[in-house]
Amino acid sequence: MTFQSGAKRDFQVVGKRLVRPDGIDKVTGKALYGADFSAPGMLFGRVLRSPHPHARIVSIDVSAAESLEGVKAIVTGWDLAEPEDEAIRDIRDNCLARDKVLYDGHAVAAVAATSKSIAKEAIRLIKVEYEILPHVTDVDVAFRPDAPAVQEGRSDETVPEESSPNITRRFEFGHGNLEDCFAKADKIVERSFKTAATHQGYIEPHACLASLGSDGRGELWCCTQGQYLVRTVCSEILGLEASQLRVTASEIGGGFGGKTTVFIEPVALALSGKAGRPVKLVMSREEVFRASGPTCSSSIDVKIGMTKDGRITAGEAVLRYSGGAFPCETVQFGSQAAFAAYDLDAVKTHGFNVMTNRPKEVAYRAPGAPMAVYAVESVVDELCQEFDLDPLEVRLKNAARKGTLSAYGPTFNEIGLMATLEAAKAHPHYSAPLGPNQGRGLSCGFWFNFGGNTCVSLNINSDGTVGVVEGNPDIGGSRASISMMAAEELGVPYEKVRTVIADTNTLGYNDTTDGSRVTFAVGLATIEAARDAIKEMCGRVAKLWGIDEEAVIWENGCAKPASSNAGDFEPMSLADIAAIADNTGGPIAGHYEVNADGAGVSFGVHLCDVEVDRETGSTQILRYTVFQDAGKAVHPDYVEGQMQGGAVQGIGWALNEEYIYGEDGKLQNAGFLDYRVPVASDLPQIDTVILEIPNPGHPYGVRGVGETSIVPPLAAISNAVCRATGVRMTELPLSPARLQKALQEA
């Protein structure tokens, strides 16, 4: 879909830094999050989790727990239904194990009781007999043909014979003749990299309140990125009809992709159905770490050839991602994104998903891309050092642009990579002097962005205000952006518009808040819904004036005669029209339903200065600048927030965050003390430069901005550390112990 927006639009509302509508509620504590919902007669749920990384469940004896006073229901995996879809069966088995537990923390049973302390006691009384099985948590070990099988029979036809039973799928992307093009290189560098699994680290743990009656009608309030997805998955797992399960999304305390599936909602519904009372289930932080979805750990081999004047002749990568204990497709995105920033004659990537005895992977901001780009950008940097070439010039020389056949298939349309690189080159940061033990790194980053299924209703209220109803939880300020786009299109002040998030029975289906899709797709649908309402309003006015509909136009929030030929009428404002709607045909509303494509890819470039304490191996981030193409920044504060937030999460990934497993296959650091996200004092101000290369697929030129920013930091920091110390690190995180050792050995 291409929008002919014509001449460059002079925006009145879009592009301003307006007050966020949810801000006061959030800072005063009035906003309702997942754990804030309660109901009369409510019970408290609690989950029993496996202490073993891999074991067969021989038996579960709940008799002692059942007879405890105050226990109203106990469920196991066998209380759940049999969904047709294999992916949903995997989600079910992740919510409550059947037959086998597949990772430390895997849910085995759950109870609902009249108090939290009774629920806790009941959990202790459940006796589970396990037959311990050999486990594997390292992706390279799991990749070997003789590795313990996490699950049997999950490999599809893409996986070569005689492979490890843990490889579930193989992906391949690329074009050109690798052999010929590598032969043109003056130097070929091959390196192997590893990255640790990291968690999204949202502040709000998963929480829900479920109420399911014996008539098969249910209500579910939960913290999620997609209430429609929750409805689909839960109704299948519980054997309900979708229309009978109403799901309402709470305010959300962060998700970053991690709330695009369910962990506790089907369990709470099953408990409620059994007990006949509402059940609240809230994960502890430890449960979040052990049993919600981190991203993949990875092992990646990269081979790149370059001429001595800095032209990349060919690139190849093999990517092995641990998707946890189930099939997972995230490695596909990594395989596609690895070389996306480059215009290459020959490129090939091979991606393998590998099962391990770890929690099931869930999307994390640009899922799969950061580690792939880290590996590629590290090797590009090494080649720049080899030939003593400026790393920015080398990127400019090889950058993908309009017309480039991308490494993953499509030919790029209007993209902002060159503009982003030029902005970085011109920025004072790039030429600022560095001190001893300091280094500067840079990396490009890329994300596809997504559109998808979207419904919007826009209601013109009789007092001249506007209500927008959309179906995507507001995770990054979208209510403000959506209101702004509605106000822009209608020509009314921003303050006159209120956007609310619908439950699943109030509005048609919407895809989940993911893929940086909301400002793009919901924005597009909102603009179209506004146009629909405008058409209706112009029609009403045409009838009043007794002229043709085509003779009435909409300008600056008013219906006007198209020209003096149409007649001489006073313009009527939206409020004027709304006030008399009763007499002109009843309520006025606009609608738009779409499966939006044309999302428009987004590129970013990050510059980072570090200083390394050579004695302790500690790395300090001194200066950091993000350059990113936003298409059109609807609310620049939020765009900058996304750019900064992604950079900070990437800094954590690069320096300290990691899932640490012991030899026993148990997670060692299930808490924020030893899973180290950066704290404020670890960071400098993250500077941002927004570029606006309009996306032809959106009426205002909007591109998604939420994910690209987590892609470059891993390589930007590792490259900076290399330039500060002379040591090329090939494993993340660059934790002090690892770096100190490498510096000592250098």
Binding site: K120, S284, E286, E615, T616, G617, S618, L655, N656, I660, Q668, N669, G671, L673, D674, R676, P678, V679, S681, D682, S735, P736, A737, Q740, K741, Q744
Partner: protein, 287 residues
């Protein structure tokens, strides 16, 4: 679970002595409440003592400072004379937790929690601090170094609790310092740490020194060989090298998620050297 707020030391000691289950003292609560919430411990008795006489006061005594067991980190940091005399101890206490935690966390609580990684303990041990303990037989004074028994354990007897910590008077030309290593810049637990306290002569020669290390053994340790490396020197490079070597030799850490054995050992030496340089400068001497 019982919560009791006794009105005297004697009553508190009696309650603790009689309790058959798990008892915990509540002063700042910054460890106990976290442990309860995370279900590490479920006490049957909690005794709140912070209202008792002297518990929240800093008084000067014989030129030194008697610090009540419930005095917060924030109170320490606001006490000018204490900060001037024992900057290393005050800084160490100030590293615990966040600003919010600082308004509750105490030296005595940090000590009695029994963590080998407790920030204030190496600084107190280096300072030669003395704990005043109350029990069934009344008061007794115990060097802080003798309180920890191992991770999560103290040498206090049943019915005993701390009522104050005493930091002695300072001679001329004395300085102390504490440094810890954490992978972040705050809100963390020491991977290893070093507290140094020293006194110099008029010519800058180190005449007395105490070196204490955290998180490299089951308890905080006082390393006499490391102190010997400093005494008699003007903290020249050779002396500092000797200090680091003695520190490394004394380390017997575990390797875990927070740090490898090699990292803790090597870094403890680095920190001791850097802390010694700071303490030396605070004593008014120049290398």
């Amino acid at each position: 679970m019982k919560y009791v707020r006794p009105d005297s030391y004697e009553a508190a000691s009696a309650l603790l002595g009689e309790e058959t289950g798990i008892a915990r003292i509540l002063s700042g609560g910054t460890d106990v409440l976290v442990q309860m919430r995370s279900e590490v411990v479920e006490p049957s008795l909690i005794i709140d003592l912070k209202h008792l006489d002297g518990m929240r006061e800093i008084v000067t005594e014989d030129g030194g400072f008697r610090i009540g067991a419930a005095v917060s980190g924030a109170q320490l940091a606001e006490h000018e004379a204490l900060c001037a005399a024992w900057p290393g101890v005050v800084e160490a206490a100030g590293l615990i937790g966040s600003s919010q935690i600082q308004s509750r966390a105490s030296l005595a609580g940090n000590l009695c929690n029994g963590s080998p990684a407790a920030d204030s303990v190496p600084a107190m041990v280096a300072a030669g601090a003395v704990a005043r303990v109350f029990g069934a037989e009344g008061f007794r004074d115990v060097p802080v170094a003798e309180i920890p028994a191992g991770p999560g354990k103290t040498n206090l007897k049943k019915g005993e609790f701390l009522i104050s910590i005493y930091l002695p008077a300072r001679p001329e030309r004395a300085g102390d310092a504490y440094l810890r290593f954490i992978p972040r810049t705050e809100m963390d637990i020491a991977v290893c740490s070093a507290g140094i306290n020293l006194v110099t002569g008029e010519d800058g020669t180190c005449t007395e020194a105490r070196v204490a290390l955290g998180a490299v053994a089951p308890t905080v340790i006082l390393v006499e060989d490391a102190a010997s490396a400093l005494i008699g020197s003007k903290l020249d490079d050779g002396a500092l090298k000797g200090l680091a070597a003695a520190v490394e030799a004394a380390c017997r850490p575990i390797g875990d998620k927070r740090g490898t054995v090699e990292f803790r050992t090597k870094t403890a030496g680095v920190l001791a050297r850097r802390a010694a340089e700071i303490a030396y400068q605070r004593a008014g001497a120049k290398r």
